[in-house]
Amino acid sequence: MGEFRTSDRLAAEELFHACYPRLAGWVRRLVDDDDTAHEIASEAFTRLLARWSSLDNPQSYLYMIATNLIRDHWRKVGRERRALRAVSAAMPAESVYHPSQDVDVRALIQGLPDRLRQPFLLHYYAGFPIKDVAEMLGRPEGTVKADLHHARARLRAVLGEAHG
């Protein structure tokens, strides 16, 4: 099985050039590392191309996969951080403060529950309309709107604390 038809390959290549930079940039904001961002964006495209013929909305799939990979990366980093702390009790906890930012975006988004984080990332970060996000997540539009509202409320509260 395997090789793309020419038309599929051209379409895939077109999508790659149109979407990769934005997707990778989107990922970088969340993982704070260029190499990891490339790794995740490449993996998302690999999975997309591997299922190319059976997808109705490749871009949605791309971002859903990337969202899951980012989540996995956060989990892995969390595990490593905990392991490091376990072997080095004297090591100070990692600061969530980055000099270049008023608040660590990644830590805030990471702190959202999954059901709020997914629509938040897809809508606010990836730029998908609510209708598309609802379809991607299999939730009613009203639910997505409510989730986004809750997510914003939480972030607003934390921002308030950070600035206060």
Partner: protein
Amino acid sequence: MDEPRDDIDTWLEERVTPLQPHPGTFEQIRRRARRRKATRAALTAAGVVVVLAGVIAVPRLILNGPVGSSPVASSGTATPVQAASTGPGKLTGTGTPRPTDQSAIPTPTAPPAVPPNFAASSVTFVSTSTGWVIGQAGTPGHCGPPKAYDCTSVAATNDGGSTWHGVPAPVTGAPNGGTGVGQIRSLDGVSAWAFGPQLYATHDGGQHWARIPTHGMRVTGLETVQGIVYAVWATCAGAGADFAAGCTTFSLYSSPAGHDDWSPVPGATGLQASGGAAGSAQLVLTGSTGYLMTPGGQLFSGPVTSPAGWRTVTKAGVAAPLPCAPGSSETGGHPLQAMLASTGSGLALLCAGPASGNQQAKTLYYSADGGRSWSPAGSAPARGVAMSLSGTPTGPLLVATSSGISFSTNAPGASGALAWRTARGATAPGGYSYVGMTTSDQGVAVPADVGQDAVWFTYDGGAHWRESPVR
């Protein structure tokens, strides 16, 4: 979003900077995708994209067990224990978790831990690294709230079983008559189904599960490939863990994998064993073709992407009989007397004779023409009672029995009778209820005694197996 924009929007948008790919990235991605497609095709050809396991479901008594049944905390600080005691994320009637406490932002932590005492009953792998296992965890009777015996738990691995982490699970218990679930399949790590006898679906990687109404019928089998999912729905009378006992009428249903829209497959409803006796059915999907072994001992087959195109397999204009009929089922719903598997370019069928102690005749047949005709392929070792048959993309077969696992060193069809060897390291007491190969080299087995709290892996085609504790 309808609400007015505020500083959060500005804050989010100000740091968007595209990241250009390195030269050659697309070609590299394309090559990787091609390899994965080839692997998946081989994998589905063996009928093992999804890996199943039988349920041997005697609830275990465990001391001090926190819970498993409640959905494991999906993020943040809640441990499974906390999730159970406070009930966040419990499914409502529509299967949508209620939002958790909105007043506090959880501290980012590692992924949720696997609930303790995880008695794995079924496993599904979507690649060599990513798989999910379902089972019961905690202490039955103390798994709620809200209901005792809600102990179903799900764990996942992203490193081929080296480590496991908790995933939210359907809020239900072990198979018990018409309720509970004990088996799991996933198409791609995003859409997955927990079933047997009830049916639950997730389309967001397990974060939320919705119960699918089955109109009183019990789901005894389910497989998915190529963006579509098929399931066997049956009318059964079995009680307790034997939910698939006393099944008299079977129907094949299908749904697009991405959402829940189940409908019967034309021509595959109301299937019965001869004389209306209790029977079983088995579903096998390859990358292109699906097969249903009917309780009457025939094959119903068609293109996986077109449920309307399925037909009874015929030879010379009449239904082609299988060498043996599936007979009754074991606890998890799998047939005990006939086991079908896709292997290499054909189908393999194991016909199991009556068990005598720990001995049982196991006769193999092979079909290279989609089940129209069958040729004898020798016998598997008599030791142990057969529980599961698996093929591999390159042809060799594996049989899980009450005594362990046997593997053939050759493929059926070309070289006469199969030659068999006993696998090393497959030492679970009571043997294995399920064996399935993800690739020709890598496979997984589930112990018949789920109290092992582990699954077993092979990385050399079944010759050697290694235990992977689910914790």
